[in-house]
């Protein structure tokens, strides 16, 4: 802040921007500091196109890409200001030449009187050195950018455990064997269903799996190793690769013997 220097120039604008020049205009400062303004200096700053590691950055809408350079995002660079004119300009208007086509620039202006230099004006908007038709066509556009592809392995969704078998009944009973039959459940999941058969001696509450090794595929099963004279209840569970389902309703107690009273299945 020099004593007696003028105030900063106001309202710096760019006009008629083209491939290699821009006309910069401004308004004289509100205060001249007590002596008349001798002229102005115009400074320019080149906007850097910097590469960013991450694309999640807001892209400056005044940015224009002429080349398809992935990763490039316009940002106000940290480049220093360079003075465009060596001697002070009298009028509040100056054609800046020698610009590089496709680059973006900002401008500021300083006023000078016999006491010294003003503070710089506010910075102009960003302007790109390019043909006006191209600028109109490309306003606010940018070439595509694609980030690194991230690959992840996902577990296929867990399968659905099947529901309960239905309509389990004892269809045959002798002292040597008992035959059970049932119907598959409503919800089956995507794949084939298999079955585990369980037995329980009446009066106890301990269920034992009969086919411990391999589940059966058909909805019927014959049990051979039953103790004569004992009464048994039976029930069946479905299974698939997702797991083992809930057991069916248990059958009525069936006494193993020659004279068998086979109960009718529920619901009949």
């Amino acid at each position: 802040e020099v004593e007696g220097a003028p105030g900063a120039p106001l309202d710096v604008k760019c006009q008629d921007a083209n491939k290699d020049y821009v006309i910069v205009t401004w308004k004289q400062p509100a205060v001249d500091g007590g002596s008349s303004i001798l002229g102005y200096f115009v400074d320019r700053q080149t906007q850097e196109q910097i590469s960013l590691m991450y694309p999640h950055t807001a892209i400056n809408s005044s940015c224009i890409f002429l080349t398809n350079r992935p990763n490039s995002v316009c940002e106000v660079g940290t480049t220093h200001w360079s003075q465009c004119n060596d001697t002070p300009i009298k009028f509040a208007r100056f054609p800046v030449t020698g610009l590089v086509e496709g680059r973006s620039y900002t401008f500021r202006v300083r006023a000078v009187n016999k006491s010294g230099m003003s503070r710089p004006s506010r910075v102009s908007e960003v302007v790109a050195a390019m043909d006006p038709a191209d600028r109109a066509r490309m306003r606010g556009t940018s070439a595509p950018w694609t980030g690194q592809i991230i690959v992840t392995e996902e577990e296929p969704a867990e399968g659905v455990v099947p529901g309960k078998p239905k309509e389990l009944e004892v269809t045959e009973a002798t002292k040597n064997y008992v035959v059970l039959s049932w119907k598959p459940p409503g919800e089956r999941g995507h794949e084939g269903i298999m079955y585990y058969v369980e037995k329980c001696v009446s009066g106890t509450d301990s269920w034992q799996r009969v086919n411990t090794e391999i589940p059966v595929k058909s909805p019927r099963f014959a049990l051979f190793d039953l103790a004569e004279g004992k009464a048994y209840s039976f029930r069946v569970r479905c299974c698939n690769s997702a797991g083992v389902g809930e057991p069916s309703e248990a059958t009525e107690a069936t006494t193993v013997g020659d004279k068998l009273d086979i109960p009718s299945a529920p619901g009949r």
Partner: protein
Amino acid sequence: VKKFAVSEGKHAKFRCFVTGKPKPEIIWKKDGAPLEAGRRHLLFEDREGYYTLKVMYCKHQDTGLYVCAASNALGHTLSSVYLTVKAPAVRFR
């Protein structure tokens, strides 16, 4: 090209973030051929705005070079990754 491996039978999810204005057209390719959405190939934009390709229940023949190609009026670009589908780990018997 970066490489990734997934086990046979699992899904492989490819995510790619894309910028550009106007909004770029995206094509996923495998070994140079465009991938169509289908039973084993899901194509969508996820909630975070990533373009996503999901290859379901990977098979050995899904091994190859996957490309996410983006284009608009100003140009085109692509990202690529190589996927290897490994034989599944032997189950404990």
